[in-house]
């Protein structure tokens, strides 16, 4: 093995390399978990608000007159409309990982329409059964139940826990699984769907007609009525979350910057300790470029070892996180998130930059004789 080879350096300095690689590994872990946690809040919102409205829009008019017939007719006749359903709804809350709450719509509709809704939202009954018509029963999404610490057979409502938003008391008879966090109950068989529709209607659009439907409804529905479309929901989400995400993203950027500078400086300090070695190599005739190349290889491989360690460590911690945090709080999770991975790579890249730039400058400024002869 050549005396100045990278491999020889690693072999002889394994302890130093491991300390540095471990720091890089832990920084990667921290940034990945922070990024995934932020992503989880985002994902929760998507599953609660955005995903359901990709399949339907809702119009609410609580006045005694209700939604005018001509508006209902126009909606029914519009080419983007597939089906309309009269509904009632209540809200419950979902607590996300950052501690804030989000409203989740629980829909009450007739038995046939409830099957149609399940089909459109691609939800399945994972456990239990569909609620009985007119019974005080609900089927709720599994993540919502986990989030609330409830199980099949439990009761939910403000008569049970005063802080609950659902009025009265309902038995949970079904657990839903699928891409939308929601829940539903079935109305009495004799409820008049047309009357129901006067106050609250769900409009399902035809496949590929989401934008058309959203545009049409936004133009048609007067401001006095409430209109919930996918477009409105996304705009609202963006507006409501702007402050939260700004804070989270700034936290993330600051964390990446601080960790990069810290790791970069620690790496640089290890090189600074080898000042005499570099001065000697310069004196012996090794060029600045050659020494920089050697430093680059050493730093790059140390970072790579750190990255691999970080990936393995993050994998283990994420699995623990899934069981100990995500599963218990009903938070949707994603093991691999590209943005989180890129954020983690930023640590490695920044650490390289924050170390290599000072090393290059240092190699240019080094006074060979002063360093070797006077140890300065």
């Amino acid at each position: 093995m050549k005396p100045l080879s990278t491999l020889n350096y690693f072999k002889k300095n394994i302890k130093k390399i491991l300390i540095l690689s471990t720091s890089i590994g832990f920084a990667i872990l921290f940034i990945y978990i922070l990024s995934v946690t932020i992503k989880t809040v985002d994902l929760s919102q998507e599953l609660i608000d955005s995903n359901p409205t990709e399949h339907f829009s809702i119009i609410i008019d609580r006045t005694p007159e209700g939604i005018p017939d001509e508006i209902i007719d126009e909606i029914l006749q519009h080419p983007s409309t597939e089906r309309t359903i009269g509904i009632r709804y209540v809200n419950t809350y979902y607590t996300h990982l950052m501690g804030g709450t989000m409203g989740v719509g629980i829909w009450f509709l007739n038995e046939v329409d409830s099957l149609y809704l399940l089909d459109k939202l691609q939800l399945q009954i994972k456990e239990g059964r569909l609620p009985q018509p007119g019974a005080k029963e609900l089927a709720l999404h599994e993540l919502l139940l986990q989030n609330k610490g409830l199980r099949l057979g439990d009761k939910i409502g403000n008569s049970i826990i005063s802080t609950e938003w659902i009025p009265g008391s309902y038995e949970i008879v079904g657990v839903l699984e699928g891409e939308s966090i929601t829940g539903f109950g079935v109305l009495e068989p004799d409820v008049d769907d047309e009357l129901l529709m006067k106050n609250m209607m769900m409009i399902f659009h035809k496949d590929g007609k989401l934008d058309d439907s959203n545009r049409f409804l936004n133009e048609l529905i007067p401001k006095e009525m409430s209109l919930i479309t996918n477009k409105n929901v996304k705009e609202m989400m963006e507006e409501n979350n702007r402050a939260l995400y700004s804070v989270l993203n700034i936290t993330l950027i600051v964390a990446i910057f601080v960790l990069s500078v810290t790791i970069g400086n620690s790496t640089y300090l290890q090189f600074f300790e080898r000042k005499k070695e570099y001065a000697l190599l310069r004196a012996l005739g090794f060029s600045r470029g050659w020494i920089f190349g050697k430093a680059f290889r050493e730093i790059a491989i140390t970072s790579l070892v750190g990255l691999l360690f970080g990936v393995v460590l993050t994998g283990i911690v994420l699995v623990l996180f899934i069981f100990l945090v995500f599963a218990k709080t009903g938070a949707p999770f994603q093991l691999f998130d590209l943005r989180a991975f890129i954020n983690s790579l930023t640590i490695v890249a920044s650490a390289l930059i924050f170390c290599l730039i000072p090393v290059w400058i240092f190699l240019g400024k080094i006074n060979v004789i002063e360093t070797i002869e006077r140890g300065e």
Binding site: K2, P3, N8, E277, L284, G285, F286, I369
Partner: protein
């Protein structure tokens, strides 16, 4: 080999009280011989050595090596010249702590070819430290470390050896042993040694005396 013309080396040139490390040096150093540069501390002898070795930039005048002015060479060219033609023995004989004695000797060539390893071992044997080849510098005495530095300087068979107070950390017997190695080396190469100890220059063909940055005398023997 080396020609110095009107050589000046001035520290703090822009200040009101500049220091003249070397003043109007005119000198020719060539041939296969041992040349000593002598003088008291601060006389400028080390400055002259390092200027010749291209490790210190001169203020004015010129130094040519084999006819080529050193000041006209770029940093890369100078580095290549040092790597291919020069060997160094520094006063503080710095060794790389994480490498073994043998690896330290092989550092200038950065190779572990059989020939070079054999040559390194021969040099270590000649310097009576062959048995320490696999030790780390921290396990050696100051004198042993200096011998390793000497072996390191000789490994690439350089055309010129520059030595700065190389026996300062050695006892008299060790100093004689080291000088015997260099006296043998001078038969085929140029060895330039800076010292204030005249006893180690017994085998020197030339001794350049420096006083206050100028050459006070050049002694030529035989």
């Amino acid at each position: 080999m080396f020609t110095c013309r009107n050589l000046y080396l001035i520290y703090d040139e822009k200040k009101s009280d500049p220091t003249y490390a070397l003043k109007d040096i005119n000198l020719e150093l060539s041939g296969n011989k041992l040349i000593g540069i002598m003088g008291p501390s601060g006389s400028g002898k080390s400055s002259l050595l390092y200027a010749l070795a291209s490790l210190k930039d001169i203020t004015s005048g010129s130094i040519t090596y084999n006819g080529q002015p050193i000041s006209s060479m770029g940093a890369g060219e100078r580095a290549l010249m040092r790597k291919e033609d020069f060997g160094f023995i520094f006063q503080r004989h710095f060794l790389i702590e994480y490498l073994t004695v043998l690896q330290n000797v092989l550092t200038p060539v950065n190779s572990v070819s059989k020939d070079l390893v054999n040559r390194a071992m021969e040099l270590l044997e000649k310097l009576s430290i062959g048995h320490l080849a696999n030790k780390k510098p921290a396990e050696l005495s100051v004198g042993q470390r200096q011998r390793v530095a000497i072996a390191r300087a000789l490994i690439s068979k350089p055309k010129v050896i520059f030595g700065d107070e190389i026996t300062a950390s050695l006892d008299h017997t060790s100093a004689k042993e080291v000088m015997a190695v260099l006296n043998e080396y001078k038969k085929e190469h140029l060895v330039i040694i800076v010292t204030h100890d005249p006893t180690i220059l017994v085998g020197a063909e030339e001794i350049v005396h420096i006083w206050d940055g100028t050459i006070s005398k050049i002694e030529k023997k035989g």
